[in-house]
Amino acid sequence: MGSQLGLAGSRGAVAGGDNVAVLRGVHYAVDHKPVFRGLDVEIRRGEVTAIMGPSGTGKTTLLRLITGQIHADAGTVEVDGQDVGRLGRRELYALRRRMGMLFQNGALLTDIDVFENVAFPLREHARLPERLVRSLVLTKLHAVGLRGAARLMPQQLSGGMARRVALARAIVMDPDILIYDEPFAGLDPISMGVVMRLIRSLNDALGISSIVVSHDVREIALLADQSYILSEGQVVASGSPRELQDHPSPIVRQFMEGLADGPVPFHYPAPDYYGQLLAPGEAAR
């Protein structure tokens, strides 16, 4: 697949050992409402790690902690051996240059075309001859199958195409870590298959580490080497997708089998149903 993509990976020994990111005892709250209560997660180098869990369990928050957009209230978040919470802006930016992130909606810059979107990190961080920029951008666009769309504007792309362009932009600086936030959300089956294949093949061809936040169980089972399921601020299960399929925990079973009711209730907390229906006036609201 690496040759099909037209990419070649080369990674030397780096800091952080076997793990590219480690979260230890992380506590994080928003408006005094706890999101994480002693979260422990290890992201292995060179693997595709999936972060799963019901909506609202803080999966995207976890990514924001890893990228240093927010900081843990307690505990440590280490990426490539560096404590993200202790880094200054300059050091954080140096670390982020080794990361690529695919946002749920692509987050392409809407005032420039596809080519310029992919070239954006190169133009901002490296003074390269225009010929080199051109060939780098076209290589990455070729890898995601959109070399022919180089001069389209983001508004002219479908959801799947926008995500593939964003993926080309995320890999243009040859990152060590690629982070995907809900990469399959809202995609048709063909686009989903394409994105899935790209995540796996880019991970292997470039020798990078991938973190995928998703709740698409079937896709993740085919894709991930290691998965974590989060619920109520903690990791409730971890392991390979096969191990998770056979997990005895009721919440893991509910999540993996997509059951409407279970430890995660179908109904949002509410007063007694019949009492509320029969109550007069304002009390019925």
Binding site: Q69, R96, M101, A107, L109, F120, H125, R169
Partner: protein
């Protein structure tokens, strides 16, 4: 008691926001030398904020000038000094009307465009994406837009005043038949360079205020459609009030 509490809360919110805007302004000033090293980005924004506002500035300027011609002539005819129309209009336009009306128009056209553009970039994760790519959105997005606005405003003020004077001349000379030579020569005799400086200084001060308010509101907009709408509305309202308050302060200092 409740009213007092709400009043105090309102004051605390206002002071908090004013403090945040001052810090934001400080960051922009600190970054300005680096921003000027990328003149292409600033030039693009001078085009967006300035060149694209030209039509509204020129059309408004022409009609403001023509109304001044009508009203000024009516007023001066009562005291038999119609030939002073050019001088009166020029001083009014240069010292007050030009900078203030330009700032109000600028806030309505360029200010809202800046606030909504930056707000939408926030709502669609474009600013977060830049931040993740180790590109500071303050430097890459906010600063060029702020500088573009600051550079554009004095230029737009000058253009507004020139077009308005043309409008005054159109009514005074062409319509009412005031002597063309007298109209222009009296203006040249009484209007001093300091008056022009005052107008341009006000244009610069209002440009800083309106651009700062627009980029601040856009950058801090809630990332929702409603939030961007609110930021846009606040840009116009706060810019208009700030322009009038600053106008008084600058005038009091200069007089």
């Amino acid at each position: 008691m409740k009213l007092l509490r709400e009043l105090l809360q309102g004051m605390a919110d206002f002071l908090g926001r004013a403090g945040a805007m001052t810090r934001f302004f400080g960051r922009l000033l600190w970054m300005t030398p680096a921003g000027l090293l990328r003149p292409r980005l600033v030039a693009d924004q001078v085009y967006n904020a300035g060149a694209l506002s030209l039509a509204i500035i020129m059309i408004s300027g022409l009609f403001v000038g023509m109304v001044m011609g009508l009203q000024g002539h009516d007023l001066l005819a009562r005291i038999g000094s119609e030939e002073s129309l050019g001088t009166g209009a020029a001083l009014t336009l240069l010292k007050e009307l030009g900078p203030v009306v330009t700032a109000l128009l600028f806030a309505g056209r360029a200010g809202t465009a800046l606030a909504s553009e930056i707000g939408l970039m926030r709502a669609t994760d474009q600013l977060s994406a830049m931040d993740i790519m180790a590109v500071d959105p303050m430097k890459r997005v906010v600063l060029p837009r702020f500088l573009g606005g600051v550079i554009s405003m004095p230029l737009l003020t000058a253009i507004f005043v020139m077009v308005s004077l043309f409008g005054v001349q159109l009514i005074g000379v062409q319509y009412f038949g005031i002597d063309r030579g007298q109209f222009w020569s009296e203006m040249r005799s009484y209007v001093e360079l300091s008056d022009v400086r005052e107008g341009l200084l006000k244009g610069l001060v209002f440009g800083i205020a309106c651009s700062l308010i627009a980029v601040f509101e856009g950058y801090n907009a809630e990332p929702t459609a409603e939030g961007v709408g609110r930021a846009t509305t606040r840009t116009v309202v706060v810019s208009a009030v700030a322009t009038l308050v600053l106008d008084y302060i600058v005038t009091a200092i200069l007089l």
